[in-house]
Amino acid sequence: MSESISADVTIDARGSACPGPLMDLIGKVKKGDPGTIYKLQTSDRGSMEDVPEWVEKAGHELMETVEHEDHWDIYIKKTE
């Protein structure tokens, strides 16, 4: 489960509406090095669609999504 994934960068986008969480993620991934693991915290259900769609398009790795009571944690690894 998620507790085994150790994120290098946590992006707290809880409370932000679409497309805020995805924008925040893209901004951080842009500045990061390959191999970096990001944890995106989002309370916007739309992130369940647009984040995986972008991660696939950009060729990064969607590691895991963990549902909490009031938000989701999406783990993404930046590839080359």
Binding site: M23, I26, W54, K57, A58
Partner: protein, 381 residues
């Protein structure tokens, strides 16, 4: 004892806040119980939306500037200086001249956003923009010489000022080329970082059929990573390459380093309560306008309405009352749909915009507002 209100920044947010405070606290300022000081490093106030019209020869960069002093209530003390340090524990500001120190009881930070094209390799060398006076004038000259080829409008930076502007520029360029009789020799492509054409879905839904009708190409999930100035190629993080003849970009933006250095937020954007505009990481500090990290647009209207809220709250605090004014995220934007028609949107944190069909009247209203904006800066409109 005199209560000192200091405002950092002379843009829309800073000017409106200063003028509203001068109006609300008129008696207290007259009696010497309150002082309002505005510090800005630019003796001119700049109304940036004017720059959209410069590339098409409709305005000049000088049209966007007026002396701050002319716009401020005489009761507001104006200091032309650059604040280089905010000490929120000591409630003290240090200025660039090395000997000016300003103590405050209430601080308003309205330092805005600035362009950071250097974040994308090659962009500053070969990318045009219309977000500043030099860039807009240079783009005017480039457009005047551009008679055929591929124009790419790329939204590179998010968040960026005026989310309507790239949409407007694209639709205006399309019609401008048609009016000049060269549209069939010009290909236009618009790129956007996410899966649709705009952050706000209703605006995307308005844009898509118009782009299709006008033969404007678009690329989504396009986050520009580098520009090859020799080959004229724009490459995205997602691996898409676009050849261009003229690149117009919305450059990456950053907030002022003061915000980060003062510990008010990251990347130059201050963390605030989105309803009260109070800084989350310091006492007696409000942050408004582009500098505040709130979930709405970086737009003049946001700074304008938020400034009214902040002025109300500080006036209440000074009078020993419980501040009750709050900001609901109200944002109003005109959107040009070409050279002579426009629409407008109004939305807030809870209510997305409804986008109506464009018409000539709204375009005239936008041009009229551009002339009367100075009344907004004065706190009158």
């Amino acid at each position: 004892m005199t209560e000192r209100i200091v405002i950092v920044g002379g843009g829309t947010g800073g000017s409106v806040a200063a003028n509203r405070l001068a109006e609300k606290l008129d008696a207290e300022i007259e009696s010497g119980d309150v002082e309002v000081t505005l510090v800005t490093d630019d003796p001119d106030h700049v109304y940036k939306p004017i720059y959209l019209y410069v590339p098409f020869g409709k305005k000049t960069p000088e049209d966007a500037r007026r002396p701050v002093r002319e716009l401020l209530d005489p009761k507001v003390e104006l200091r032309i200086n650059r604040v280089v340090d905010i000490d929120t524990d000591a409630k003290r500001l240090e200025c660039q001249d090395g000997h000016t120190t300003l103590n405050y009881d209430h601080l308003i930070v309205a330092t805005g956003a600035k362009l950071a094209p250097e974040e994308v390799p090659g962009l500053a060398e070969d990318g045009h923009h219309f977000y500043g006076p030099q860039g807009a004038a240079k783009l005017r000259d480039a457009l005047a010489d551009f008679e055929e080829g591929h124009l790419v409008l790329s939204v590179v930076g998010v968040p960026h000022m005026c989310p309507a502007a790239p949409v407007e520029f694209t639709l205006m360029a399309d019609e401008w080329f048609r009016q000049r009789g060269i549209r069939d020799q010009v290909e236009i492509t618009y790129t956007y970082p996410i899966q649709r054409l705009h952050g706000l879905e209703p605006i995307h839904e308005w844009m898509e059929p118009r782009f299709q009708d006008r033969d404007i190409n678009y690329e989504t999930f396009f986050n520009a990573e580098s520009v090859d100035p020799d080959e004229h190629v724009l490459e995205s993080m997602e691996g898409t390459e676009l050849d261009y003849d003229l690149l117009v970009a919305i450059p990456p933006h950053t907030g002022d380093e003061l915000i980060t250095e003062a510990g008010l937020g990251d990347d130059g954007w201050a963390e605030v309560n989105k309803h009260t505009l109070e800084a989350e990481r310091a006492e007696n500090v409000y942050v408004l306008g582009d500098a505040a990290d709130i979930p709405t647009s970086k737009a003049g209207s946001v700074a304008h309405y938020a400034a009214g809220t902040v002025a109300d709250r500080i006036a209440s605090e000074i009078r020993g009352q419980v501040p009750t004014a709050t900001y609901d995220g109200k944002t109003v934007c005109f959107i040009e749909a070409g050279m002579d028609e426009a629409t407008f949107v109004e939305f807030d944190y809870e209510h997305p915009p409804v986008v109506r069909d464009e018409n000539k009247f709204i375009h005239w209203a936008k041009l009229a507002y551009n002339e009367t904006y100075w009344l907004t800066a004065k706190g009158l409109l």
